[in-house]
């Protein structure tokens, strides 16, 4: 887990042909290299051994409820935005055994899961995703409910961020001030520049660990021309945002509109399927299940991702709260954009657009907020 101190970080250039050397250096350092890779028509995050396993020359098109993989004209290594996976699947695993218990004579013998935290190098972490990790850090890294599983994995992680040089149709990181350029939270941060005759990465060194790693990777000094091209790429992404979200006063806006008829309108479209929460890189809710074997001699407790859209999640004695879809959607959106701030001191949304793209019916968080905002101006109280 990198700690970035300096605002005046060193910049170097890594030729695209040397990208494999970066992977190898990480692998030699004992890291499992995890990066974007192709799976069933989408770019997902998984372990990779070589650069060939990355979606070189691929891109993605996003709209509400629609994602399509396309082929690029160039050989960009990171010429796409974010897919259905987020890094939380590695830091906050979707299913995990917490402990086991065995009957032992007349007593019980508890065996806690003592995880040797895996040592991941995350390659291709987007600026919005770095922000998502920093948001989950507030939930899991400290305080009363610190989670040792998350802590161990997070502290071990080496982060190679990638600034975006293009934006997707559902991106709105500019509105959320999380991108398209990474500010902190990485060991190395790459900006990819692809031209007809050259293909390189400008590498920003964000930590001593990052600097040490680069000693094993061939690189050169960055010239002003390199830097100019890299900033032009990031500026291009900033100008391409598919969505915008006006966050001014959003907390009070949502609190004022808890009884807006618009929630019912969303409920007519909302499938209640929980996809938005599953793909959200900051949603962290889980359930625990106790399982036993047939003899009753062994039991285990498992933790699984859960969602505020399932009725078991809010089940308390006597029934579930928030039984309607309108109440659930309102709860999710209001938590994400308003109550999160009260609870953790920041927005719960990073503007990655996953909840819009991966909603099967394309419900759009930015449009729903805008509709609520407009309803106030059209009908002044």
């Amino acid at each position: 887990m990198p700690k970035n101190a300096s605002n005046d970080r060193k910049l170097v250039v890594l030729e695209a042909a040397q990208f494999q050397a970066l992977l190898r250096a990480l692998q030699d350092g004992g890291y499992s290299t995890v990066a974007p890779t192709l799976k069933e028509g989408a770019i997902v995050y998984d372990e990779v051994a070589t650069v060939d396993e990355l979606p070189v020359g691929k891109t993605d098109e996003h709209a509400g409820g629609s994602y399509r993989l396309k082929t690029r004209k160039d050989k960009a290594v990171f010429g796409y935005v974010v897919g259905p996976h987020s890094w939380k699947k590695f830091l906050h695993p979707p299913t995990l055994r917490l402990w086991q218990v065995r009957r032992n004579g007349n007593g019980l013998e508890f065996v806690h899961t003592q995880e040797q935290p895996p040592k991941y190098a995350f390659i291709g972490v987007r600026p919005c995703e770095l922000s998502a990790m920093q948001i989950q850090d507030k939930v899991f890294m400290a305080g009363e409910f610190a989670d040792p599983i998350y802590q161990g994995r997070r502290e071990n992680a080496f982060i190679v961020a990638v600034n975006c040089s293009q934006a997707g149709g559902t991106c709105f990181c500019v509105s959320m001030k999380t991108g398209p350029k990474a500010q902190s939270g990485f060991d190395l941060c790459l900006t990819e520049v692809v031209e007809k005759k050259s293909h390189f990465f400008v590498v920003e060194i964000g930590s001593d660990r990052g600097a040490a790693l680069l000693q094993d990777v061939p690189h050169s000094e960055a010239t002003p021309e390199h830097l100019q091209k890299a900033s032009a790429a990031v500026e291009q992404a900033a100008s391409q945002m598919g969505k915008t979200l006006d966050v001014s006063d959003v907390k009070d806006l949502l609190y004022r509109n808890a009884e807006s008829p618009h929630w019912e309108d969303v409920a007519r479209r909302c499938l209640g399927c929980a996809n938005c929460t599953m793909v959200c890189p900051t949603c962290f809710c889980t359930t625990v299940e106790e399982v036993t074997d047939l003899t009753g001699g062994n039991a285990e407790r498992w933790r699984k991702w859960d969602s505020c859209f399932t009725s078991d999640f809010s089940y308390v004695h006597g029934g579930s709260i928030r039984t309607s879809s309108s109440a659930r959607y309102r709860h999710w959106l209001t938590h994400k954009l308003a109550a999160w701030d009260d609870q953790f001191g920041s927005s719960g949304c990073v503007g990655c657009g996953r909840c819009i793209t991966w909603c099967p019916v394309g419900i759009d968080i930015t449009a729903e907020v805008q509709t609520i905002r407009s309803s106030e101006t059209s009908k002044p109280k």
Partner: protein, 271 residues
């Protein structure tokens, strides 16, 4: 969970008695029990399999501690028989799409059954059947439902474990999407435009179809509070015509309330 217990404590002498019953169905779900292989031996170790004609001709009289009921009610005789079984069973668990959603044979519920009988059978006069195929819970109280065509073996073992240990079974009622996302399977509807019933179908199958790049066709039946109308609208947008949507709502759970109602809307729309 595979390790045998080393416990030495004494157990109740009488093992709970299990019965397995068949109504209108293909036997696939009860065969899931035989298909549990190594787990089957463990089940037989903890439960007395007292009435299971697919496994043994030896039938012990009731009452039974737990009955697994497969199939739907399609004859007057079966409509009587299920009441007898309920009376003999402390706990009654229905297994599979026929028992919980009427099965594919519930297609008759939308037509005149006599027409089917005339088309299918050489001597229709020998056929005595009800006009409808209905799930077990329309006839008797059901303690727990296991969905699917066929049911999932692991869910079957889970529900038996829960019964034996007096705890709530971990059988979720939420959408298949939750399972897909936990397993990291990219959404076929969003990424490939393949119509999928996952967002309105109960989880539990282990995302069989989406993990083979196919849309879910709803064999686990409606999830908790499904928004079937909005899902079907999305199917339309992805190019499915009214007839196709009507038919996908009428497969293995044709009589499940939410699917049945939506199928009728699309039937009316396509007429």
């Amino acid at each position: 969970m595979e390790k045998k217990s080393t416990e030495t404590q004494s157990k109740p002498k009488r093992k709970p008695k299990l019965a397995v019953w068949k109504f209108a169905s293909c036997d696939g779900c009860q065969l899931s029990l035989l298909d549990c292989e190594d787990k089957l031996l463990a089940v037989a170790g903890e439960l007395e399999i007292a009435n299971f004609p697919e496994a043994s001709r030896l039938v012990q009289k009731g009452p039974y501690d737990v009955s697994l009921v497969e199939g739907s009610i399609t004859t007057a005789h079966d409509a009587e028989r299920i009441h007898q079984i309920r009376k003999m069973s402390k706990v009654l668990i229905t297994i599979g799409a026929c028992a919980t959603g009427g099965g594919v044979q519930a297609l008759r519920n939308f037509q005149d059954v006599n027409e089917f009988v005339r088309i299918v059978y050489a001597s229709p006069q020998y056929i005595s059947t009800l006009k409808t195929s209905t799930p077990i819970d329309e006839h008797v109280f059901v303690d727990f439902e296991l969905r699917g065509c066929p049911i999932s073996k692991s869910q079957l073992v889970e529900v038996i474990c829960a019964f034996l240990n007096g705890r709530k079974p971990n059988i979720p009622a939420y959408s298949l999407c939750v399972e897909c996302k936990r397993q990291g399977v990219p959404c076929v509807m969003v990424s490939q435009g393949i119509p999928c019933l996952g967002p309105v179908t109960q989880a539990g199958c282990g995302v069989l179809c989406p993990s083979y790049n196919r849309g879910c066709y709803g064999c686990f039946g409606p999830m908790e509070r499904p928004n079937v109308a909005a899902c079907c609208e999305q199917w339309s947008k992805l190019g499915a015509d009214n007839g196709e949507i009507m038919r996908v709502m009428r497969t293995f759970n044709a009589h499940a309330d939410e699917f049945r109602k939506e199928s009728m809307r699309y039937e009316n729309a396509s007429n």
